[in-house]
């Protein structure tokens, strides 16, 4: 029987890679996402515009503004002169945030009193605003410390911080390992479910059913090529992460690929299940989309799972992406051990067996 499966697998790969359009659809998303994502997916704030409404106008504030302009976050300082202008600058999004320096600023500094500064943030971009505000705070504190140097009560750096696994908190260290999981999802699902519904649409499925292949073997024959595609794509991203983006790979390749197998298996389970309940490619496509989008959003890639309401956190347990992202990041950045990996592979196994069984049942029911 294994020869017959090999024949199925070879045919599937020939169909996938045989025409230029098919190859493009497999490669282009990987390349584009590899190029764009690490560059685009960052929550740092850079090159933005800061508006400053300096009501004081003294030497001290000039110095302060100078410091703002040196920060990487702010490429441009927009000096404004009145509250009307302040309003329009924020309303029209000409600046991410505005700093209002009150007229008593210099005086209070000189008196050693606590100067007050007001920051106006754009609520439409409050996340970036908050991050930028953090930078402003640091600059102000630094400035203040220097102004007060020589005074009696000097504050040193209060806390020592060490960021494990990614000491400079580089965002793409976080993005790339996650991409190993997200990018492979799309192709694996599409290859599994669409190839099956295409056979159904084009009548070749009947041809398979009258052959000595059993439905189980046909499913295996569909699963293997999809998993191969997923593995190759995953490897490309892994290599790009290590060699192009220079992210140190800490863990064990055996563990990574071992768990990738179960991850892809659970995806294939979903793909086969979707195609077993769809009769056209269009339906299968919609099905894949309806599964994939929530799966990516709820995987912890775009926003931490901890922030979700409890009922939604429960739903994420059924999302294979959620578990695999933990594994890739863990193995890639943290050298996660077998013990830990096993705990995350377990849910993948459960998902795979549930979906594969469901696919098998509904497959047989339709044939019957």
């Amino acid at each position: 029987m294994h020869l017959r499966i090999i024949a199925l697998v070879i045919k599937e790969l020939q169909m996938l890679l045989g025409d230029a359009a098919g190859r493009r659809l497999l490669i282009m998303p990987v390349v584009l996402q590899l190029l764009l994502f690490p560059a685009a997916a960052t929550l740092e704030v850079k090159n933005n515009t800061l508006a400053v409404f300096d009501q004081d106008g003294g030497k001290a504030t000039a110095e302060l503004i100078q410091r703002f302009s040196q920060a990487q976050a702010f490429e441009r300082i927009l000096v404004i002169h009145g509250s009307d202008e302040l309003k329009s600058v924020i309303d029209e999004q000409r600046a991410l945030l505005a700093i209002v320096i009150p007229e008593d600023f210099s005086r209070r500094i000189a008196q050693g009193a606590n100067p007050r500064v007001q920051a106006i943030l754009d609520g439409r971009r409050s996340n970036s605003g908050q991050i930028a505000l953090g930078y402003i705070n640091q600059i102000l504190n630094q400035y203040q410390r220097e102004m007060m140097a020589g005074m009696e009560w000097v504050q040193s750096e209060p806390v020592t911080v060490r960021h494990w696994f990614n000491s400079n908190l580089k965002y793409h260290w976080f993005v790339l390992p996650s991409l190993v999981a997200t990018i492979t999802t799309a192709s694996t699902l599409i290859v599994t479910s669409l190839s099956l519904s295409r056979e159904r649409e084009q009548g070749t499925f009947d041809q398979l059913l009258v052959s000595p292949l059993t439905p189980g073997l046909i499913m295996v024959g569909k699963a293997i090529p999809a998993m191969l595609v997923g593995t190759v794509q995953g490897t490309i991203i892994l290599l790009a992460g290590i060699f192009v983006y220079g992210i140190p790979f800490q863990g064990s390749l055996v563990l990574l690929y071992g768990s990738m197998f179960f991850y892809l298996l659970s995806l294939v389970g979903f793909g086969l299940f979707i195609s077993s309940i769809c009769s056209t490619q269009q339906q299968a496509f919609l099905g894949v989309f309806c599964f994939m989008m929530p799966a990516v959003l709820l995987s912890g890639f775009s926003a931490p799972i901890e922030n979700m309401p409890t009922w939604m956190q429960w739903i994420t347990w059924g999302d294979p992406l959620r578990h695999f992202i933990v594994i890739v990041k863990g193995v890639f950045l943290k050298d996660m051990g077998l013990n830990q990996v096993a705990w995350h592979v377990l849910p993948l196994l459960v998902i795979a067996s549930v979906t594969l069984t469901a696919a098998n049942l509904s497959f047989r029911r339709r044939l019957g």
Partner: protein, 375 residues
């Protein structure tokens, strides 16, 4: 080929298209159910506001000072604190069970008393989650500062001065991420829906062989294309309104703009996204490829490059340039403005301008590529 536009033919084609929409359950699925489901997922699943982050506490000093500071953190609404010995906690950090560990070493109390300015606290974070890591860092630093001042106050010690920044979030005073993520999500949803709806319609005519029969009638290109746009525009506006209503009434996001402005911007945006779907459909003549291309061209770029989550200004210049080509980028700012700030026309007019260019480009290209013969 001078041909005259016939209203009768146009209406008949529109009627046909509408009947097909009404009778195909998948169009209802795409235009109403899918947006609602997506909105719920975006609304609840995509939350950047830190909330119950699990943090480990290593309390090696059992003195009053350490306990007092620790209780400050335990009481925080942002943290769920677990405590244990250092080894256990660092293990938990490595396993992702906690996102940060706060160590108060055995000499915490002594050193706080002797040199209140020196650093007796150590924070370890999980750098694999950079966002959470920096939040933990900032929060603990802030808490430490507050606690120090508080202590100084209590004991009448000279209070270390610090510059107060009084932050005010306009439009969104409590800085809820949902308030700006939801309008952005609606953009993503509408981009996908618009492109998905029309990416199938021309390809379907080719695949089912109806195109050849249509071409053999006196029907003109304008009649054909307009009949493909108008019904789907109606459907698109319907799903936009469904989304906005759900955002306001179910998710409780305030809407401060006017319905007129929403419809105006929504119309121009829909024309661009329907236009993109039509163009792909016209070029590929194959439902499967068209849908796949539409999804690739609509969903991912809108998600990544529209400024909906990630700040466009922080991206490399070349990526910023690419983002200029994405209609969703302009609709995101419009929607965020309409929801939170109201009808700020300088923003809306600029967005409308770019969106119109995109709509004209996509529809114009579709016009040019629409076959009038089978050659």
């Amino acid at each position: 080929m001078p041909q005259s536009f016939s209203q009768r033919r146009f209406l008949a084609l529109c009627r046909k298209e509408t009947l097909q929409i009404v009778r195909d359950p998948s169009s209802l699925l795409i235009s109403v159910i899918l947006p609602l489901v997506m909105l719920v997922i975006f609304g609840y699943g995509l939350n950047l506001d830190a909330n119950r982050i699990r943090v480990g506490l290593v309390l090696e000093d059992q003195g009053d000072e350490a306990r007092e500071f620790a209780s400050e953190l335990v009481g925080s609404r942002y943290f769920t604190v677990v405590s244990g010995p250092r080894l256990e906690m660092t293990q938990a950090l490595a396993n992702g069970k906690v996102r940060g560990v706060l160590v108060l070493a055995s000499d915490f109390g002594r050193r706080t008393l002797l040199h209140p300015g020196e650093a007796p606290i150590q924070i370890l974070t999980d750098g694999a989650e950079p966002n959470t890591a920096s939040f933990v860092e900032n929060y603990v630093e802030g808490a430490w500062k507050v606690w120090q001042q508080h202590r100084a106050n209590q004991r009448g010690l000279p209070m270390p001065t610090s510059m107060d920044v009084e932050a005010r979030f306009w439009f969104n005073p409590s800085a809820k991420s949902r308030n700006y993520l939801i309008p952005g999500s609606i953009t993503i949803i509408m981009t996908v829906i618009g492109a998905l709806l029309t990416s199938l319609v021309v390809a379907r005519e080719w695949e089912r062989g109806t195109m050849e029969a249509l071409l053999a009638t006196p029907m003109t290109r304008a009649e054909f294309l307009l009949s493909k746009i108008l019904p789907y525009y109606g459907l698109g506006i319907l799903s936009l309104l469904v989304c906005v209503a759900a955002a306001i009434f179910i998710l409780g996001v305030p809407f401060r703009g006017s319905v007129g402005a929403l419809l105006l911007v929504g119309t121009v945006f829909l024309l661009s996204s329907l236009g993109m779907g039509l163009l792909l459909s016209t070029l590929t003549r194959n439902q499967f490829n068209a849908a796949q291309a539409a999804l690739n061209a609509a969903f991912m770029p809108a998600m990544m490059l529209s400024g909906f989550i990630y700040e466009i200004r922080s991206m490399p210049l070349i990526v910023q340039a690419v983002s200029r080509l994405i209609p969703a980028r302009y609709f995101v700012t419009s929607m965020q403005t309409l929801f939170q700030a109201g009808d700020v026309w300088p923003v809306l007019v600029l967005d409308l301008f770019y969106l119109s260019i995109a709509a004209i480009y996509f529809l114009g290209m579709t016009w040019r590529k629409t076959a009038r013969s089978l050659d």
